[in-house]
Symmetry: C2
Subunit: 555 residues, 2 copies
């Protein structure tokens, strides 16, 4: 049985899910022993610990020019001392070019089979990847497991399914038979989906696998070879993915350099050199806007970016103010606001928020939000695990500086004790009230656990501020609370024009930060927060070119 | 019956054709009285003549700031003296923005119905458009009828079908029901295809409708408003299209400014001003590479370009050298080489071309090609009509200069008499032999009836030259003659990597210059000749953004 046959049913389910957009998950998100095995967690932790201080020797990339690695655990605030093989950009490119010549000719079914097989194997390493993610990004255990493991694998499968589906969109051959009156012109036509070449996937420090696997698997599925350039601060989680991909490739007689890991260090990055190489035709990037905009402007490349944005919450009216604030408080606390989908600007009309129990004033709302945030932070069974740790020192500094913003500080950031990691770098959310006139302050992304409460004249001003900020500075998510259908439609319509998806009236266990594979697009590509979307048809279509040849039909 | 219901069967046939890619044409390409009516030709000529010296007052665009027009007939070498209403860029943008607010909310079915209805009406003006095309572009009658009429309408229908099809790709709503163990999270989701905004379509002087209608109809179908900026030298053909679109819109209660004509003059072009306006989100362009590259670099826009390239012919072996050279001679003569798909570089191995009747040497081939070109030029019933006239004086100058290229001139360009237009600007092809080492000369596009015979070491060198030129300078078409399956596959594969479609072994009534709607992509978007392709999924997908909203399901 070929790998394609082995995984065909899964692929076909994934393609259906892509079209139906109802709930679908191929990988269980709960780290339950009943699903993953009784010893899976402990084994994963042991495997993670075994890498510490060692060479990561699981890659099939020969003759490195050196061994480097500077990862640090935000929980321990000390280096992991894992080193990875390093290579010159020139040698990475040469190996990728060589691998391209055979990979591009590999059948789409074979590529799909190999790639899904790699995900199947990665499944057995979800716990190891979870601990690697915790100790590079600072994510809490549950998020680290879910986002870097099953959710990333689902997104990867989604990209495989989308790529496979697009490759099958056109017939590979057709007979074109044109009546000309007295005779027919008959041509044999064929169409080839030609991969673009070398694909560079540039990772970020907060979601090292989730944000990179769509580009990796999307490019591989469509016949491109891939060079994965992780953030120097978060290598191990994606290194495990690449190692498993290489293992499957090698075992089945393919060149493991089809997907290479390209590790660099903070002071000697190789990203520009790789990105500017004329042989690199595709670039996937997650990170700051400045570098993203530089990449987008490179000529002769197809570039997919997820950059930064400012996410808004529009408050108008709600059936249950306590559930609404609880939901928002969770969103603010989750991974200490270090998600690209985290809320930053809360627009509250000066007249307050209407509820069945009467009007909630601006100050009432602020007070309730503070109480909900504190309630979660101070719950020792939840707070430390929801907040996790702060990946980057600069984020912690930004949080401290936020208290000096020109407005009432409703809640100061503070530290707390993580029962498992006494030395963790932590910061609870800071909440500052700002007048709507202070647009220059709140139109900037303040990455981290920083929430701004902005007093507006009315909901119309709230909507237009949220819309304009998204159009000018980008946005990846938006939340809104309203019980008025006309206001709801106005928000839905205006935020659509800003290419920003809106989560309405969320309460309970679903949050504006969360995007589900096979159903939610992640980012839209329609505003400055990025030019791409996981995983719409463009996301895979633009990785190859349709070329049609023709010839008079043989009689 | 709604317009959608009226045209639904046609739309659905077009969508099928898009997927099947077998022969399909909704509009008959033959200008036969039996199809278009006994008086259609004479009526069309009369309607065309009626515009001469007059104001083109058929547009529904109020309060022009002036009336301008500088078109000249290449057949008469005198001005048509037709003037068109002119508008400031600011007023065009303001009107387009206003129209956008209602057009974007118009249902896809209604848009499709209105747009196909406009094509249905344009059908009754194909002959008028044909004469308008002849006397602006210099195309021969048959090409002017086909390319600007039925073929353009087929391409427009193709863009409508592709756009409609992409808009239906996702469900507009779904219930997302996620099992969480003890309970389910149930969300109502909806997806909106949000048009990008104002679309600017910049026309060219040689194919004023064929190259513009895909952008116009593709943008309109996906909910964008359109500003059509024709080349100042070729306005009337596309003005008739726009007038019919506006008439259908107005008759059905829509804002005619949904599709505006933006005429300018040679010395006061408004293209940059329109293109750089932040409200213009989409740009379609056909024309020279320099301006196209400037447009592609504009930030915050989605830009579709068809620029220039160098098309190659690879000669290796053939079953019938006479039929092959006859076919190529026709391709060189057709519209005096003023097609973006016309051949320029002919690569012939120094060892010659093998045929069943023995080897044909380089010189034999050159001689045969000269004879075939002359045979066609000197046939008074065919030559003048195939060659047409030369649109631009600069093309005629370029042809004259080509005789001074450093190589043997196998055929000099000359004039001939067009029996209907004594004063036509004409030039027959010039054929120059060049050594393969003179790459700096033949890697440039020499627009017009200029063919270069390049002597190569062998077919491998021919292939690598054709491939490298396409990769470096772009190519839209390629022809190859070989009877050897291995050579054929090598050409198909290598030219695929240069994103260039190859027509193999064409003889008889089909030419490398011709691309058929619903089956051939026009350009691939994969080399410097342009970043777009008529009409692949990207061509319409990139005109709108998917935005998904969600909300807890009502219980």
């Amino acid at each position: 049985m070929s790998l394609f046959e082995k995984h065909e049913a899964l692929l076909s389910k994934a393609i259906d899910a892509l079209h139906q957009r109802t709930f679908y998950a191929a990988f269980a998100e709960h780290p339950a022993p009943s699903i993953y095995g009784e010893t899976a967690d402990a084994d994963g932790l042991a495997r993670f610990k075994a890498w510490l201080g060692k060479k990561f020797d699981a890659l099939k990339q020969d003759q490195p020019s050196g061994w480097i690695g500077e990862e640090e655990s935000p929980y321990l605030q000390e280096p992991l001392k894992i080193t990875y093989p390093s290579f010159t950009p020139a040698s990475l490119i040469t190996r990728s070019q060589k691998a391209f010549q055979s990979w591009r000719k590999t059948k789409a079914t074979d590529r799909a089979g190999l790639l899904i097989e790699s995900l199947d194997r990665i499944k057995s390493r979800f716990f190891e990847i979870a601990y690697a993610t915790m100790h590079t990004t600072g994510q809490g255990y549950m998020m680290a497991f879910q986002a870097s493991g099953p959710h990333a694998a689902d997104r990867a499968l989604e990209a495989i399914a989308a790529g496979y589906n697009e490759l099958r969109r056109l017939p590979s051959t057709a007979v074109w038979d044109k009546p000309m009156g007295k005779f027919n012109i008959k041509l044999d036509k064929e169409w080839r989906a030609v991969p673009k070449g070398i694909s560079l996937v540039i990772g970020c420090s907060t979601f090292p696998t989730w944000n990179s696997v769509t580009g990796i698997y999307g490019s591989l599925m469509t016949g491109n070879t891939v060079i994965v350039k992780p953030h120097p601060g978060a290598i191990l989680p994606i290194a495990i993915f690449v190692a498993e991909i290489q293992r499957v490739l090698a075992e089945h007689g393919f060149d493991p350099n089809t997907c290479q890991l390209a590790v660099d260090s903070f002071n000697a990055t190789i990203t520009r050199q790789l990105a500017e190489d004329p042989q690199v035709k595709l670039i996937d990037y997650t990170g700051n806007s400045k570098f993203g905009t530089y990449l987008e402007a490179l000529t002769g490349k197809t570039v997919f970016t997820e950059k930064t944005g400012v996410n808004s919450v529009i408050l108008h009216s709600t059936d249950d103010i306590d559930k609404a604030t609880a939901n928002l408080a969770f969103s603010i606390n989750l991974y200490s606001g270090q998600m690209c989908t985290a809320p930053q600007n809360f627009y509250i009309p000066e007249s307050g928020i209407s509820t069945p129990a009467g009007n909630i004033s601006f100050d009432d709302f602020a007070g309730k939000l503070v109480a909900q945030i504190n309630g979660l932070v101070d719950n020792p069974k939840a707070g430390p695990f929801v907040l996790g740790a702060v990946q980057n020192k600069k984020t912690a500094e930004r949080v401290a500086a936020a208290e000096k913003l020109p407005g009432k500080v409703w809640l100061k950031s503070r530290t707390f004790e993580n029962p498992m990691f006494k030395t963790a770098r932590v910061a609870t959310p800071v909440l500052v009230e700002l007048d709507a006139s202070k647009k220059e302050i709140y139109s900037e992304e303040l990455f981290g656990p920083i929430a701004l409460l902005i007093k507006t004249k009315n909901v119309d001003q709230s909507i237009s501020l949220a819309r304009d900020l998204a159009i000018e500075h980008g946005a990846i998510s938006c939340a809104a609370y309203t019980t008025d259908p006309a206001v709801r439609e106005k928000i839905a319509d205006e935020m659509s024009l800003a290419a920003t998806p809106v989560s309405f009236n969320l309460t309970g266990g679903i949050y504006m930060n969360q995007n589900a594979a096979f159903s939610d697009f992640h980012a839209t590509g329609g505003n400055p927060a990025g030019n791409a979307s996981f995983t719409n048809p463009d996301y895979v279509n633009r990785r190859f070119t349709w070329v049609g040849h023709r010839e008079p039909a043989k009689i």
